[in-house]
Amino acid sequence: MDDRAIARALSRMASEIVERARGTEQLVIVGIQRRGVELAARLKHLVDQAEEAGVAFGKLDITLYRDDLQAIGPRPRVGVTDLPDLEGRTVVIVDDVLHTGRTIRAALDECADFGRPRRILLCVLVDRGGRELPIQADIVGTSISTAPGDRVDVLVRELDGRDAVEVARAA
């Protein structure tokens, strides 16, 4: 996927978000650190433009909710979590790649500590399959079939200088 394909996917995803959330009234768009945050910010911008709204926005770092603290070795840096009150709202969680589902499991746990949303939707740019938990995305940019050893890298302008989705197949 190049920058134009990503732009097309994001604008379609933005209208799907509004459609599925039935408007922007109670909507909160929440990005998962780090690239999910950049994608979420762009989706919020697209929704704001299309709907002339100011949609609520949040960031989520799931490091402290991971189930593998003992196993992961060099301690990952803990990022910022900045969420509005989620009570009664429609929360759209945005991430770059959906793979095992464990990040999303952790994100759902963390959201639950910030109130009881009326509904949570999952929106990802790439679904690469390989789930280890019963979790599915509601809104998907593109689906790629991959083998377990493959790597899927989402690059974003803000952090990587360009927009792209790249798949590195395992040797």
């Binding site: 998962i32 690239r35 770092d61 490091t63 402290l64 909710y65 991971r66 603290l69 003992q70 196993a71 992961i72 070795g73 060099p74 301690r75 990952p76 840096r77 803990v78 990022g79 910022v80 979590t81 900045d82 991430d95 770059d96 790649v97 959906l98 793979h99 095992t100 589902g101 464990r102 990040t103 999303i104 746990d109 963390e110 500590d113 910030f114 109130g115 990802v124 690469r128 790597r151 899927v152 890298d153 989402v154």
Partner: protein
């Protein structure tokens, strides 16, 4: 992939043996933990299922409660033991106490002890992580870290900052941890106090001595005012508390003559009217309560970093959910 992140090793005994990178890792990790304490539900599951024993052989309110909050906010299971009312008062040795606790399958020990070196001694003899919560006159690393974090919050950086540590430096583990941590991060540190309460050869620690409090106030960006332990008077280190206040006390009057606004810190508990006046402690430049708030965040960071697995395991590919 993650860039190389320094590890803290098994125990936190003091700041003397930490590198500047390790100190920064703890301070940076403390930042997101501040936010956890502002949440309505002040709890994250990071240390779920870990068992931590707080072993306090010396009286402590602030430090013990701060560690307990830090542990609970990380979802660890904790037990606090005070020396009085435990088998320690029946003559059990430190190692025996710790080994018995380990036999109950604990993961970490937070220890406060009146003997310098006790935390390191214990760390070498048990498998659990050991965190020093103050050992004799040696170090009080988490206090040093929370002081440095508070300064960093206030000034944006530590490098080039002028910090004067005032009072009973001789008996102070807080002073020692501050000196190690601040100098490693590039601050200039001075000590100020009665000659009887400054360690001999203190300049070997990389600090300067400023004999008069007025000069320290004129020089420094921040003052860390140490508690004057009242029993020091009985043991002849100072003539009287009133005399101490007159010569070395941080008074409103002295502070008003400072050429610039100073940040005022105190590790607590304060002796109002001895080393610090109420007008200063409660004044606009005091960060004494923010220090206490930061204490919980710093301790959460230390607990989290020490609990986080072996440093040789490799991080899984980034960006994958």
């Amino acid at each position: 992939m993650q860039p190389d992140v320094p590890s803290l090793g098994k125990d936190l005994v003091g700041l003397e043996h930490l590198s500047a990178d390790q100190l920064r890792l703890i301070l940076d990790t403390a930042e997101p933990f501040k936010e956890v304490s502002e949440r309505q539900i002040k709890k994250v599951p990071a240390l779920r299922g870990r068992t931590i024993v707080n072993l306090f052989f010396e009286a402590s309110t602030r430090t013990r409660i701060s560690f307990e909050f830090a542990e609970k906010r990380l979802s660890a299971d904790t037990v606090s033991i005070a020396a009085s009312g435990s088998s320690v008062s029946k003559g059990e040795t430190l190692v025996d106490t710790a080994r018995n606790l380990e036999a109950m399958r604990i993961d970490m020990v937070v220890i406060r002890h009146h003997s310098s070196g006790s935390a390191e001694f214990l760390g070498k003899r048990i498998r659990s992580n050991v965190i020093n919560a103050g050992d004799g006159k040696h170090e009080h690393p988490t206090q040093g870290l929370l002081d440095i974090l508070t300064l960093r919050d206030k000034f944006g950086k530590i490098e080039g900052l002028k910090v004067a540590i005032c009072g009973d430096v001789l008996h102070s583990r807080v002073a020692r941890s501050n000196i190690w941590g601040l100098t490693k991060l590039g601050a200039e540190v001075a000590v100020c106090g009665p000659a009887s309460l400054l360690p001999r050869n203190v300049t070997e620690l990389g600090v300067t001595v400023i004999p008069r409090i007025e000069d320290a106030i004129a020089w420094a960006d921040a003052l860390n005012v140490l508690r004057l332990q009242l029993e020091r008077m009985q043991s002849g280190f100072i003539p009287s508390l009133r005399e101490y206040n007159r010569v070395f006390g941080l008074t409103v009057d002295r502070l008003e003559r400072a050429p610039k606004d100073l940040v005022i810190m105190h590790p607590g508990p304060m002796n109002r009217g001895v080393e610090i006046d109420s007008g200063v402690a409660d004044g606009p430049h005091s960060v004494i309560l923010p220090q206490v708030t930061n204490g919980v965040a710093v301790r959460m960071a230390v607990l989290y970093l020490l609990a986080g697995g072996s440093p040789d395991a490799t991080q899984q590919g980034g960006g994958e959910a």
